[in-house]
Assembly symmetry: C2
Homo-oligomer: 195 residues x 2
């Protein structure tokens, strides 16, 4: 990991870093290439690592009782992915995390993570601020799910993450937005007609 690494950049968005801090981080994270179609983990697995995306794209989804997939998160470069809850608690996960493109990640084991939080107050601070932001974002998605129709959800995504729409098939967008692919197709048709 270099000093101009993406992770360093992102941490700097939240906290001040000193020279020594760069060094410290180096020992904790490891690089890995993940091929398109590979899984970081699947339902029932123990989650041994936290994963930071350096390049590429991932999706996190789960499969409900009826066997349908629901995408919970897309992870672009600069984002964390995985299942934080199970990483922390040690429970097995309900999720699948799949690389949608050839990707490069940093990963850190649970024991290294625990050690890092103790040794690096700046990292603790970064992690906390990220959690605060993540909680607010998830709450907003919940509000949206409960108060908004299919068309508005799509337009909202179009505004917030226009880049994702270029990179993943529509049926995954539909899954992320909680609607059938047919509904999304009709929403898109309707929007382009009314322009």
């Amino acid at each position: 990991m270099l000093m101009d690494d993406l992770l360093i950049q992102k941490i700097k968005e939240y906290v001040k870093l000193k020279e020594a801090d760069f060094e410290l981080l180096n020992g904790y994270f490891k690089n890995k290439q993940i091929l398109k179609g590979d899984f970081l983990f699947k339902e029932g697995d123990a989650v041994h690592h936290a994963i930071f995306v350096k390049s590429g794209l991932f999706r996190t989804y789960f499969i409900d009782e009826q066997g349908s997939e629901h995408i919970l998160q897309f992870a672009l470069p600069g984002w964390w992915t995985g299942d934080l809850g199970c990483f922390i608690s040690g429970e097995t996960t309900k999720f699948f995390v799949e690389a949608l493109e050839n990707s490069e990640v940093l990963f850190i084991s649970k024991s290294a993570w625990d050690d890092l939080l103790i040794k690096a107050p700046f990292y603790l601070d970064y992690h906390r601020k990220l959690l605060e932001k993540g909680l607010a974002a998830t709450q907003n998605r919940l509000l949206e799910a409960y108060s908004t129709d299919a068309t508005k959800k799509y337009l909202q995504l179009l505004k917030t993450f226009p880049d994702i729409l270029q990179r993943v098939p529509q049926y995954m967008i539909a899954s992320y937005l909680g609607m059938s692919r047919e509904t999304l197709s009709r929403v898109r048709k309707h929007i382009s007609n009314s322009k």
Copy 2:
């Protein structure tokens, strides 16, 4: 605040506390009585305090573009309520927080909060663990919203928070579950018929 205070109890569920820590907390939190029907804040307000519920019951809701209410959270004793995102960021809130019963809370100002996080590592740790748990819980509600029908959502709530059902009117339960009050009424009828 006494040493056997509910907040202390809750903190102890997450981190070890020393004698001196009790003392420290005392200076940061203040008690307040809130009457049934009163609001901690409303849409458009700045959120100056974080609020911990000692007794009573609160609801957090927002009003969408069509003017319908959506309840995001009920807060029972031992829970935090308010709008953490806006408390941290300083933005004005979209939410209403209303006391559904006469209640007793602890509150802490933003400046005291920031100071506490610096002075009390144990508190920082407690806060972080709470965030981790809260994020996982909110994610689960999102999954449920996207993958589950009205009946299952109700049964799930019945299992998780049976106490809330005794204390709030049905139309609020319906709002919390993202369905109309008529649908909830029919779900309940259907369940009692099939027993």
